[in-house]
Symmetry: C2
Subunit: 307 residues, 2 copies
C-alpha cells in the first residue's frame, strides 16, 4: 500500500460525487510571470474538503449514529454535504469563529448543527464528547489518513489536467490539503507551504522539530486557524516540503481583492493565501521557474447573497 | 472570406491578449441533467467583450484621436482595457443605468469616461457626436463585423476545449456574442437565444420579421438592454438560430443565486440569464439532449469589494 495508489483508488471512489474543478493559466495580480491556477474553490460546498469527506464516508462502515465533525466551517459543510448525499446522519460542531456565512452554508445541507463558543479546538472537544456518547463516526478535519488521501485527489486531478508547474503554492491550516498533495507528488514538484503569520502551525512545527501548539488569529483564521499541525502533514512535510513561507493579513486581503478585480474569482481569505505569497514576494520564483497556485476556498463573509 | 476563417484568424490575432477561459461540467442548480459551462466571465474586465475589442483594435489602423465607445458598461470596460493594453487613447460614454460598479471598473482602466443620463441609446448618440467631432474610431458594442468576429472566438475556443453539447444556450442583448457563436457554429450545434422578457430585442425582431425598437428594463438591462437587435445578429439568427426563449427577472435572480450557492461562481444578472432558461423550464432539453450554458458576465452590483 502506498500513498499514490491509495490516492488513485480514492479518486475513482469519489469521482461520481465530487466536482472536477477547472484550471487556467493567467498573468495578472501585478505579477510579471504567468501562473497556473486550479479553481478548487468551485468544489461542492466551496472548498476542497468535500474530497476528504466523500473518501472517508465511502471507505468506511458508517454507524447508524452517523457521522460527527468539528470544523471551522468548510470541513463541517463538506461532511454535512457528503453525509446527506450518501444518506447518513450528520452532526457538526462549529466554532463561533466560523461566522454567519459558513454556519448558514452548513445549515442548508440539513445537518444537525451546534455552534460552540470560541475557536476550533473547543469545537473538536465537543465533537469528541458526542462521538464517545453516541458512537457516531468522527471525521477529523485534517489529521486522518482517509481525509488526507481524499484531499490528495485534488493534486492528482490537476496532474491529469496537465499541470506544468515546477512549483505549487498551497495554503496550510491543519495541513490536510498540503499533506495529500505532498503524498501524491512525492517530491516530483516543489511544494511551498503558505501560512498566515498569525496562524502558522506548520511553520512553528518545522522550527520546533515537532508539532507544537500555536495561537491563531487573523482574517483567514476561520479556515486556516488550526492550533497544531496534523501529524500526518508534519511527517510528510519533513520529507517532501520544498519551503515554508508566511504572509501577513494585508497581503492576504490584497490577494483576495486582486483575484476578484483582475480575474472575477471570489474567494475567502484562506483561498487567496497561496497567491499572497507571490504578490507579496514572500515566495520569489527563480527566472525560469513555472509556478502554480491552488485556490482552495470560496466561502467569504459576508456572503454576497446574505440579506 | 468566410465567417469561420475570419474567426480562426481573429483567434490567433488576439491570443496574446485575451484569457482562455475555463470550462466545467456540473450537475447542480436543481437540474436533473449535467450541464457544460464555459466561465467566460473570467475574461479580462469580466465579460466576453474583451474579445471583440481586441479584435477590432488589432485589425484596424487606429487614428491618433484613439477610440470611442458607447456601452452599458461591459463593452466600455473592454474597449478601455484593450486600448490601454495596446497604447491607444480611449473615450467611453456610459449610460447612467450602468451603475457605480461598472463605472468604477472603467475608471480603473484609465479611460476618459463620460456618464450620460438615461439608457444605452443616449450614450450611443453621444459617442457618435464625439466620433464626428474628433475623428476617433467608433467601436460598436455589437453590430460591427470585427466585434462579432471577435466574440465568435469564444465559441471557437470552447469547441477546441472539447465542447460536447448538442445545444448551447446564450444570453442576448445587442446580439454580438450570439452572432459570433452562430457565425462560428454554422448550424453545427443548436443555439438557443435567451433574453429577459423586459429586454428582448431579438425575440421581437424575429416576431416582426425585421429589427424593431423595444423598451428595455429589468435586472439585466444594464448589460442586455439593447433597444434594437444588431442587423448582423438578426441576419445570422434568421438562418442559424435554433430557438428563442424568454425568462423573467425572478428566474434570472434565482439562477444568479444558484450559480453562487451551488458552484461559487459569482456573476451579474446577464451572466446568469442563459442558465435561467434551464432552471425555469423556458428551455426544456429532450431526454438525451446534451446542453451547455455560456456564462458571459461577472460585474455585479454592488461589487463585493465596494466599500
Amino acid at each position: 500500500m502506498t500513498w499514490t495508489s491509495d490516492i488513485e483508488t480514492a479518486r475513482a471512489r469519489i469521482s461520481a460525487h465530487v466536482q472536477v474543478t477547472p484550471t487556467l493559466i493567467t498573468q495578472d495580480f501585478g505579477l510579471t510571470y504567468p501562473v497556473e491556477i486550479k479553481l478548487e474553490q468551485l468544489q461542492h460546498t466551496g472548498s476542497f474538503k468535500a474530497r476528504g469527506a466523500f473518501n472517508t464516508l465511502l471507505s468506511a462502515d458508517v454507524p447508524k449514529a452517523g457521522v460527527v465533525a468539528a470544523s471551522g466551517g468548510n470541513h463541517g459543510a463538506a461532511v454535512a454535504y457528503a453525509a446527506q448525499a450518501l444518506g447518513h446522519k450528520a452532526k457538526v460542531f462549529v466554532p463561533e469563529l466560523a461566522g454567519a456565512s459558513k454556519i448558514a452554508l452548513i445549515e442548508r445541507t440539513g445537518a444537525d448543527l451546534t455552534v460552540v463558543p470560541g475557536e476550533y479546538a473547543n469545537a473538536l472537544q465537543a465533537a469528541q464528547a458526542y462521538e464517545a456518547k453516541t458512537g457516531a463516526m468522527q471525521i477529523h478535519a485534517y489529521d486522518a489518513k482517509p481525509t488526507v488521501i481524499g484531499q490528495g485527489t485534488c493534486m492528482a486531478e490537476w496532474d491529469a489536467q496537465g499541470l506544468a508547474a515546477d512549483t505549487v503554492l498551497i495554503a496550510v491550516g491543519g495541513g490536510g490539503l498540503i499533506a495529500g498533495s505532498l503524498a501524491w507528488l512525492q517530491g516530483a514538484r516543489k511544494v511551498v507551504a503558505v501560512e498566515p503569520e498569525t496562524s502558522c502551525a506548520l511553520h512553528a512545527a518545522l522550527q520546533a522539530g515537532t508539532p507544537v501548539d500555536v495561537d491563531v488569529s487573523g482574517i483567514a483564521a476561520n479556515a486556516l486557524g488550526a492550533r497544531r499541525i496534523g501529524s500526518i502533514c508534519f511527517d510528510l512535510a519533513q520529507t517532501h516540503l520544498g519551503q515554508s513561507v508566511l504572509v501577513n493579513d494585508h497581503a492576504i486581503a490584497s490577494a483576495q481583492r486582486a483575484l476578484w478585480q483582475d480575474r472575477r474569482v471570489l474567494v475567502e481569505p484562506a483561498g487567496a493565501t497561496a497567491l499572497a505569497a507571490l504578490m507579496s514576494g514572500a515566495y520569489q520564483p527563480a527566472p525560469q521557474e513555472r509556478v502554480a497556485v491552488l485556490v482552495c476556498g470560496a466561502n467569504p463573509a459576508p456572503d454576497p447573497f446574505d440579506t
